[in-house]
Amino acid sequence: MPIVSVIEAVRDTIRSEMKQNPSVFILGEDIGARGGVFLATDGFVELFGPERVIDTPLAESSICGIAIGSAVNGMRPIAEIQFADFVWPAVNQIVGEASKIRYGTYGKKICPMTIRIPYGGGVRGGLYHSQSIEVIFSHTPGLKVVAPATAYDASGLLRSAIRDDDPVIFLEHKKTYRLVKGEVPSDDYTIPLGKAEIKREGEDLTVITYGLMLHYVLQSAVECEKLGISVEVVDLRTLRPIDRETIVKSVSKTGRALIVQEDTAAVSISSEVSAIISEECFFDLDAPIMRLTPLEIPPMPFSPIQESEYLPSKQKITSAVSKLSSI
């Protein structure tokens, strides 16, 4: 199997879906001749023409509103929001509108659209090219939210997202784009939305995470092994709906749970995972549920020193694991 980076996996998957299905088209800022600022659609306008590769004006609300209209009218748009930090103007169309179309029309209309959003930090993006935006979407009934961490997952989940009949927010961690590489089959595989994956098996403690943090957690797990702590790692992959079953099964087994995320803690994915564990694993827990997250400040300073201090790191994860496993 070829080894590809996350951005290559994303690019290959969109290309192959566009080739297979004439209803699939893409729209967004600079996705044409420029190929997208991260080059996710490099060469696409030459391949598919400007009708199916639409360079939009700088106007996120309409990018999503237009995607909605076209989806309701039979197309399968993939909208690109250039950076997650710029999705806020489109919240009305996504949270207010797209999420409620199926329910609000009693199933007569559907909105099969994918919104691809590069998010997250650690790339010297400062306050406005580093944000995590998953909370609002993961809270909203009617949306699906996907956040793959590996090239394999990115491809299989993106394919599922594009083929799904409901609006899917597809979050791509921009630091993984080139950093993270892996084997990706060239066949047409899909990964079901809503399923977490055990990325490493272990006995003593479960770490639940997603996105870039998965990689730091896996690195830390190797270190922890040396310290004699066997860590099981759950990669959520989908943030709405969250896969309760996988979380509960793992934590019931290990009796200890640490949640690691790049987003700030208050009212976040980590809160929900903790609440799920409390509801379902109470009698199996041997220690408090712990969360490792940045402090409650806007993500994240441009100063390189402060940026690295902001983010959870392998070291911080290892020391949190050590602490939790000794309670």
Binding site: F25, E51, R52, T56, P57, A59, S61, S62, C64, G65, I66, A67, I68, G69, S70, A71, V72, N73, G74, M75, P77, P89, N92, Q93, G96, E97, K100, I101, R102, Y103, G104, T105, Y106, G107, K108, K109, P141, G142, P241
Partner: protein, 325 residues
Amino acid sequence: MTNELNKSRLKKMFRTMLISRALDERVWILNRQGKAAIAASAQGHEASQVACIEALDPSLDHFLIYYRQFTVTLALGTTPEEQLRTFLAKDGEIMSGARQFPLHGSHPRVDLFSFSNVVGTQLPQAVGVALADKMRDSNAVTVVFFGDGAASQGDCHEAMNFASIHSLPVIFFCENNGYAISVPLSKQMAVENISSRAAGYGMPGVLVDGTDIFDVFEATSEAANRARRGEGPTLIESTVERLLPHTTDDDHSKYRRKDDIEGLSRMDPLPITAEKLVSINVLSKSDIQMMEKEAKLIVDDATEKIGNEPYPGVETMLLHSDLEF
């Protein structure tokens, strides 16, 4: 163009206006009786709406409406009974299964939809609908209705701009009744007419008298032809009066001058249209009286039929949701 409106079409149009009015009045009464939760009235907008629809093809075109489109929905072929059910939120309500406010949702027979109460969101959505048509070389036109209030939203700007860049087959049909709830035009914009904004997007902007079915029909037909020829969108501003308060929850005497309110009836499109149709011998006065009676009957029948129907119960609540299996 105008002469395309033959006698039978004109009669049909006027009949729809009468039924719309009769239903509208009934809904208002049902609200006062505590039976309808809320209603926004189309009274004053009937001529504008019926003439716009008459210039289009409900079997082909797409219609994105908002809450004040009572006459539009009837003109498109939904039944008075269906419409009454949307106001009473009864089981089997056809637009949203009584999940939404009246007129929101979509319809199984007519390509008519309105996803939400959020003013202005329908404009980019309509542009997307038209974009899909253009991609598939469909000959359909998309009509999107909105009020003067919606014209202030950012979404209105973004939608018009995109539609014009891509020469999409969209008719932006603005029903300007001079008020966004209580806020008069003078506090909504520093220009006289919304249609004057069209130039800034490179599309035609047309101002029509919304009480004049001929004027509205002609402008809409022309916009539709333009759209079908691939020449792009048109902004039509149809000036009307909102004869009643914003909704059944509102009291416009708080913000409109007494003489202003008293003068509203002069802009009532029903007598205006009736007089025109009589003067060109499409209808006689007695025709009109008969038709008014018929409209009342239709509405009475529907009211009686629906009045005792149940509300949707809990069984259907999770259908078409994340929790459906």
